[in-house]
């Protein structure tokens, strides 16, 4: 009885070990199943999903116009304080003074890519971009100004 158990355990153990070796042996000989990618080499083919949240961007159209009214709801909704909007008073052609953005400061180093600013934006002036390679040698490069120099608010956006 003891011997039967003893040898039975040996055989079942060897069987389970051989099952595992069969699997690794199978994958050793089937190189087409390889799942890893050679990352920087596949950059051309690498396409991030459209919704991927990599950074906050502010799209400008060909006339260098953005849609940000400077309402600061993104600044309020940001949990980390990574957005700072500096506004200025701009004199309109009709002589009225209006609040416009001066600089839209984005601290990428503090951003957690939660996307709440984009959710809060009433004019869809900002979006989440797909760029994810943000490494820089110095922290100061991570502080970005999103509105381009000389850009202005698109007409009709309030």
């Amino acid at each position: 009885m003891f011997l039967k158990e003893y040898f039975g355990s040996i055989f079942s153990s060897i069987k389970s070990l051989l099952t595992g070796m069969k699997l690794t042996g199978y994958y050793f000989t089937h190189h087409n199943k390889i799942i890893t990618e050679e990352y920087p080499d596949n950059r051309a083919a690498l396409k991030m999903p459209e919704r991927f949240r990599g950074e906050v961007i502010m799209p400008h159209d060909e006339k260098n116009e953005h849609q940000c009214t400077g309402c600061q709801s993104c600044e309020l909704s940001c949990p980390n304080g990574s957005i700072k909007i500096i506004t200025k008073q701009e004199i309109q052609p009709d002589g009225k003074k209006k609040k416009r953005i001066d600089t839209w400061v984005y601290h990428l180093d503090m951003c957690t890519m939660c996307g709440m600013c984009v959710e809060a934006c009433p004019t869809t002036a900002i979006l989440m971009g797909n760029e994810f390679e943000h490494s820089q040698y110095e922290k100061k490069y991570l502080k970005k100004v999103l509105n381009k120099p000389g850009s202005r608010l698109k007409d009709g956006v309030e």
Binding site: I10, L17, G20, M21, L23, T24, G25, Y27, F28, H31, K33, I34, I35, T36, E38
Partner: protein, 364 residues
């Protein structure tokens, strides 16, 4: 019948000897010079071998794990291991403050020396053997068990608690598994009647022991492979290092060149045990023959003996690597149970069976 490669090796050695004899007249100096030349050649060979095995292990692991493996340095990543070696060379070889500095620095040397000593009696090809000692099997089993001294030394002198536990595990593990290795080697010694590796290879001229010796020899082959995996501390028996438990075990505190020596010793040991297994069970450099098929046997004979030897060795190395990349690690008490409850009793009974077989002449 002499194959090309083995012929050229022995004749090369003879030419060399004759040439040196003309240049150097002093007998002692001649011997020393020849030893130095052989030593340098051997070292270069072993370093290259360690490089190759390191590369092979990475690729084997990678393919089993659905990865590409090294692919950046050199074509197909072949120079990766060179890059790693260069990195290790330039790394600071620091010694911990609380360490026993003499022993700490001595330990890698001892480990690599024991690894190198075991290389001596291996027959690489027909007529190509560094040292045809008549007690080759005994020599190898005794030298390889000396590795425990180096590991204990490294673990104790590091003054690191993890290292100490690793070293203590090593003591228990290597001492236990020596027994099974010895017994499984004895079963072939019994069949051959000689301790010389050369004789053992010669005895397999008409068939390798693994085919001739029925199931008992197969069992001792399996036991030898398992026990020698444990002897050289490779997964699943790598409790001495046990990255996930002891963060590296005995070599936790080592870095740079000293660590590289441990790594090299590991690969040399891997080569040695595989070579011994190939020599003893798979016929060493003997070609594969099937009785009766003369034509087939002739074709087999034309394959150089060194190729036979290295392909058999590589096969066993591959098996041992596959163990490592397939199985999880054992626990220390299970490791000892495996030896004392399973491998040792089985190999003892097995030696009896083999002896009976040898006396009655039941083998082919």
């Amino acid at each position: 019948m002499k194959t090309l490669l083995s012929y050229s090796f022995s004749s090369l050695a003879t030419h060399m000897h004759n040439w040196l004899k003309n240049v150097i007249t002093n007998d002692l100096l001649l011997t020393v010079t020849e030893l130095v030349i052989i030593g340098v050649c051997l070292l270069v060979f072993l370093i290259l071998l360690a490089f190759f095995l390191g590369y092979m292990e990475r690729k084997v692991a990678a393919f089993m794990e659905l990865r590409l493996g090294p692919n950046r340095v050199g074509p197909k990543g072949t120079l990766q291991i060179v890059a790693d070696t260069v990195k290790l060379l330039f790394k600071e070889g620091f010694t911990p403050d609380a360490a026993d500095k003499f022993l700490f620095n001595l330990a890698p040397g001892i480990i690599i020396t024991t690894a190198l000593l075991a290389v001596a009696p291996i027959a690489y090809a027909k007529g190509f053997q560094l040292w045809d000692i008549n007690i080759g099997v005994l020599y190898i089993s005794s030298v390889s068990s000396m590795a425990v001294i180096g590991i204990l030394m490294a673990g104790w002198s590091s003054s690191n608690k993890y290292s100490l536990i690793g070293a203590m595990r090593c003591g228990a593990q290597i001492v236990s598994y020596e027994l099974s290795i010895g017994l499984s080697l004895i079963s072939i010694v019994v069949l051959t009647g000689s301790l010389s590796l050369n004789d053992i290879v010669e005895s397999q001229a008409n068939g390798w022991w693994i085919f001739k010796g029925h199931i008992p020899v197969l069992i001792s082959f399996v036991i030898f492979v398992v026990a020698s995996t444990a002897e050289i501390n490779r997964a699943p028996f790598d409790l001495v290092e046990a990255d996930q438990e002891l963060t590296g075990g005995f070599n936790t505190e080592y870095a740079g060149m000293k660590f590289a020596m441990f790594l090299m010793a590991e690969y040399i040991n891997l080569f040695v045990v595989s070579a011994v297994a190939a020599t003893i069970f798979l016929g060493g450099w003997m070609p594969f023959h099937i009785g009766g098929l003369t034509g087939f046997n002739h074709i087999m004979d034309y394959i150089p003996s060194s190729i036979w030897f290295f392909s058999k060795t590589l096969f066993i190395i591959f098996i041992i690597m596959q163990f490592r990349w397939t199985f999880p690690r054992l626990r220390i008490d299970q490791l000892l149970n495996l030896e004392w409850k399973y491998l040792l009793p089985i190999s003892m009974v097995n030696v009896l069976l083999v002896t009976l077989m040898a006396i009655m002449g039941w083998h082919f």
